[in-house]
Every structure is written in structure tokens, then in C-alpha cells.
Symmetry: C2
Subunit: 344 residues, 2 copies
């Protein structure tokens, strides 16, 4: 069935049906009026993020199916909420499709969105559907902080909150998503390992609980790894006006990436993006407390990979040290991204 046959209202009705009725008792109005409506809790901060994905730029329908695209589009935004140490609550989804698009593809996209929304307890409460020659997907997610302990409490992970002497840590293994993409592009033999890497690339699992555990333990600096570890640590040092050292041999590399790509997996762990683990900075004892808390609820532990240091020279920088202590060159030329003024 083509989109042009069901029309905009037909499509909206179908997608609202596909999403099901949200059960959040604080939600007064989801899809169906001029705006979604919910009750605010007084004791939490509210956070909001949005991302746009364009066919041919951010995804390729020849290597991604519609369902996975739906999952990933929502997961990326949920990860931005996790990156603040917050939990997602509500999402708005706008979908631009050619009129010759198949309604079944839109159904599959929304099934993927719904699966991710249910996994992260985030209700899809509104959106827009429009005609466009290109497939363009925009997702906005609204989330909430942990409860405030007092009026001055800001229970968030911010990029700007690193301090000299902080340990730098990540919440899980890196390089899996980059390895999965490389498997898809290079199409090596299909094995259990390559299947696992493709799954990591296509259906990332944002670390909402890890972000909340970090905040609860007292950590206040962190973000999600979407551009790649070195680039994202670059964002932290730019915003904190400090520098960072990463010990390459401490970086946890995804085991399947290591098994399939050998030593090249370390480069993927350092520079490939879309792992959606968190990178954070804080006093070592705070990170240890968060790690213990995560272990207690069955989540992977936190791994210290380096430290925050004062700026040497003119501008914030990220130095990656090889096992022998020598600075290591990053293949992608990641360093260039960190020049002051490039990443506001």
C-alpha cells in the first residue's frame, strides 16, 4: 500500500495504532490534539534533545531495515538523555516520506520506535508526518533528572564539569558499533561474532541506568560516546577548558571486535562512533561507588581509562598514550577536531 493511497490522516491513525496507548498516569493527552500534555513533577529538572536523520547521509536503507532504523533513531536521543544522567519520559517523532513510500515500511519503522520506547519506558506522545522526496526522521526526547536533594542541587552530567585530577572513565566496551559497520561495508563471512557486531551497530543500548548511577554517586561530568571516544573527550575538555590523557591500553575493546579485527579494533574503540556508552570524569572514589552500584543491579562496571589534566600549551587537547607511554597518532586525524573554536 502506497502512502498516497491512505493520506496523511490515514497514516497518522495507523501509526498511532502501531504505537499503542501509553500507560503513563502523568500523561493527560498523547497523539490526537494540537499538543501532548503531561503533569510536571516539581522535584526534578527537565531535559530535552533532538536529532534529525537523513536518508543517504545518516542511514542507508540498503544496509539498515526500517525496524532497526526506528530503534536506532529513538535510541540515539535516549542516549543524549542518558548522557545528562537523566531518564527519558516522552518522545515526539516527525517522519518525512515520499508519497510513493510503502505504508508497511512506515509500520515497521514505528514498530522499531515502539520497541525502543517500551524498553526505555519512554512514551511516544506526538509528532508530524509530511511528504518529502527524501526520507527524513526527526526525534525529540524529553527526560527528567533524579530528584533534587535541595534547591542548589543540579543532579546532571555536564560536559563543562570536569576538574583537574578527575579520573576519566567509560561505562562499557567500545568499538563494537564501528566494527559492526565495517562488517556491513566489507561483508566478511557471516559468523556468530559478526552477527553480534551488526546487532550492536543496529540496535544500540543507551546507558540510562549507568548515567543515573553516576549522578547518584556524585559524578557531575559526562556525555555519551556518539562521535568516537577521542572526539567526545575532546568535547568535554573544550567545554571544561582543560585537557585529558587517555591510556590506550586501559580502553576496554569490544571482545567481538577484537576477535574479528585484531589490533585494528583498538582504533575503532578510540575513534569510531555510535557505541552509546558514556564517558565521564570524576574523583576515583566517586566512580568506584557508581561502579559498585551498577554491579549490584547487574550492569557492566565502569573502567578508568585516563585522567583530566591542566591545559599544556595554548588550548585544550586530548592526548592518547600507547602502552609504552608515547603519544599515539589517531588514524582519523581526530586531533584536528579539538582546535579551540571548532567545537563550541
Amino acid at each position: 500500500v502506497r502512502l498516497s493511497e491512505v493520506g496523511e490522516f490515514g497514516l497518522i491513525a495507523r501509526l498511532a495504532e502501531a504505537l499503542g496507548v501509553p500507560t503513563d498516569p502523568r500523561l493527560l493527552q498523547g497523539i490526537g490534539d494540537d499538543a501532548a500534555v503531561w503533569r510536571n513533577p516539581a522535584d526534578r529538572l527537565m531535559v530535552a534533545t533532538t536529532d534529525t536523520l537523513v536518508e543517504g547521509v545518516h542511514f542507508d536503507l540498503s544496509t539498515t531495515d526500517w525496524r532497526d532504523l526506528g530503534w536506532k533513531a529513538l535510541a540515539e536521543n535516549v542516549s543524549d538523555i542518558a548522557a545528562m544522567g537523566c531518564a527519558p519520559r516522552y518522545a515526539l517523532v516527525s517522519l518525512a516520506l515520499p508519497s510513493e513510500a510503502r505504508v508497511e515500511d512506515a509500520d515497521a519503522l514505528y514498530a522499531g520506535l515502539r520497541a525502543c520506547a517500551e524498553a526505555y519506558e519512554c512514551a511516544i506522545v506526538g509528532g508530524d508526518t509530511v511528504r518529502c522526496p527524501q526520507v527524513v526522521l526527526n526525534v525529540t526526547v524529553l527526560g527528567e533528572s533524579l530528584p533534587l536533594r535541595n534547591d542548589a542541587d543540579v543532579p546532571l552530567l555536564l560536559r563543562s564539569a570536569a576538574r583537574v585530577g578527575d579520573a576519566l572513565a567509560v561505562t562499557g566496551p567500545l568499538g563494537g558499533s564501528g566494527a559492526g559497520l565495517r562488517v556491513l561495508v566489507e561483508a566478511p563471512q557471516v559468523t556468530e561474532l559478526t552477527r553480534q557486531l551488526i546487532e550492536v551497530h543496529r540496535r544500540p543500548l543507551p546507558r540510562v541506568r549507568a548515567g543515573q548511577a553516576l549522578v547518584a554517586a556524585g559524578c557531575r561530568c559526562g556525555m555519551d560516546i556518539s562521535d568516537g571516544l577521542v572526539a567526545d573527550v575532546g568535547h568535554i575538555v573544550e567545554r571544561s577548558r582543560l585537557s585529558a590523557e587517555i591510556h590506550a591500553d586501559l580502553v576496554p575493546v569490544h571482545p567481538a571486535a577484537r576477535a574479528v579485527f585484531g589490533d585494528a579494533a583498538l582504533d575503532l574503540a578510540l575513534t569510531a562512533g555510535e557505541d552509546y556508552e558514556l564517558v565521564c570524569a570524576g574523583p576515583p572514589e566517586v566512580l568506584a561507588a557508581a561502579s559498585a552500584e551498577l554491579a549490584a543491579i547487574g550492569e557492566p562496571p565502569i573502567t578508568i581509562i585516563g585522567s583530566i589534566i591542566a591545559v599544556e600549551g595554548e588550548r585544550p587537547a586530548v592526548r592518547v598514550l600507547a602502552p609504552d607511554g608515547a603519544p599515539r597518532t589517531i588514524r582519523t586525524g581526530g586531533y584536528a577536531h579539538f582546535a579551540a573554536g571548532d567545537s563550541p
Copy 2:
């Protein structure tokens, strides 16, 4: 300067600069981290809406300049917030542009967004900038209701809240935007009147205060007129499972539209969209109280144009009566839109 020369981070820095620093004391973090952050007021409902505009589908850069596009894109969403009887607070803007786009055009777009944001006290706190062959603009606006008087209070204008015997009313003259579009397409002689109509079409003024006055007076049913009066009343009767009668001779027609297009202006007032006035339903004394309140703050009065009636026949319908009381046929075939199931 081409977009490809400044890069994504260069563009974001430039746009953040163009938007200025928001002064809202409740806003803790605007552009620059993984998400925007603000404090919730406990005694209000929060509302959220989003719209996507596609070049060649929703706007045409040969008849709209970038600055007006920015104003209108935000105004449309502010109008959806006004349509709930709420006030806008925060906006997220995502902009998809070809890499050969001119940075100066993006600057002009953001100048228009900023002008509208300042006029409606709505801070632009985040967004995304991506590459796309087509220009696509997505705006999400978050707003707040009036304070709740008690736990059961829902101080909103909903489409579903019409009651039999309610008067149907609009907050201002209609047909101006449709007339402005017709002027642009037909390019008649430029006069003060046609200039005024083009301005109404390009820079609509959402009725935030009117929506709030309606809610404060006790009205609970309404929406904004974006698709056209008859079509939008159709949405109200569908959601309320009732019917409506509109007296065509009571509908306030924009004076400049009447002066330029004569009797054809009434058709524009009934069926052309994008006026962004509100249409509401409520007890006549409630609407009179809201009208008095609006007059007191220098806003246009509310005009009663018809009433809400029980469903006759099988499904909700909108009947438009000519001055002699005979049903009037709507040129655009607007009736067809109201079949049950077409507008969920």
C-alpha cells in the same frame, strides 16, 4: 560563504550566536551540551508540539524569504501551544540544508526564528543541523498551562471538549492569510492592502493571550485555525462526537481580503488555512467573559459564528449556513474531510 566551508560546528556556533543568550532564570542549560535543561514549575501542565516544513511542499523559497520562513516555522508551533490555551516556553530547532547552501541564508532563518521567539518569550534551547539535499526545518515547542487551581483542574483547550449547546466562536478575522497567498500567486498590483495581506500570510501572529483568556474564563474546547475554519471545526466535531453549524454571515472576514477579493473573501475565510486565529466552543456567557478580558488588554474581541449541535444522521458533520439559512457548498470540497475515520 557556503555551509561546506564552515562545517557543522562552525554553523552551530554561528547560529547559537545569532540566537543570543536566553535570559530565562529557570533555564539551566541551553545550546552546548547533550540536552537542554530547565526547572519544572509544579503547578502547571506541560505541553509539547512539533512540525516539519519541507522545501517545495510547505514553503517555496521563490515566494518566501529565509527570515519570514524562520518566523513562520516557529509561529506555527507557538500557535499549536496557543491552541491548547497555553504559553510557549522552550523551542528546539532542527535544520537540514544542502552543503552548497549559503551560511547567510541560515543566519537570516535564525534571525526570523529569534524575532518570533522574542515576541512570544520562547527561548530556543537546542536543535540539530544536518546535511540534506532538500531544505527541511523541524521545530518542537514546549509550553505550559495556566496554574492549576486544584488536582482535578485541567486548564486546557481540547478538541474533544465540545458540548451540545456550546456557542462556536473565533478570536479574529479570517481569510487574510489565504488572500495573501493568492496575492503572491496571482501577483496583482501592489497596494497598501495587498502588502498587508502578504504580511499576514508570511508573519502570522499566534493568539497566545486569547487562548489563555479563554481558559481563564472557563472555556475548555478549542484549537487553532491552520487547515481552514470548516476543516478545523471538523476536527473538533470528530473528536467531540458532535456536529456544528456555522452561520457564514457571522464569520469575520479580514477587511483587506474583503477589499481586494470582494465576495470571494468569504470562501477564503471559511476554507483557506494558516490564519492561526483560534476557534473555540463554550457556553455563550463564558465566551463573553473571555472577550471582555481580551478587550481589557487591548486584544481583538471574540466573535460567535455558530453552535455545537447533536449528530444528525450517522456521523459528525459541519454545516455551513448561508444568510438565508440554506446550507452552503464549500468550493474546496471541504466536507469530504469530515467523514468519520478520516480525521482521527
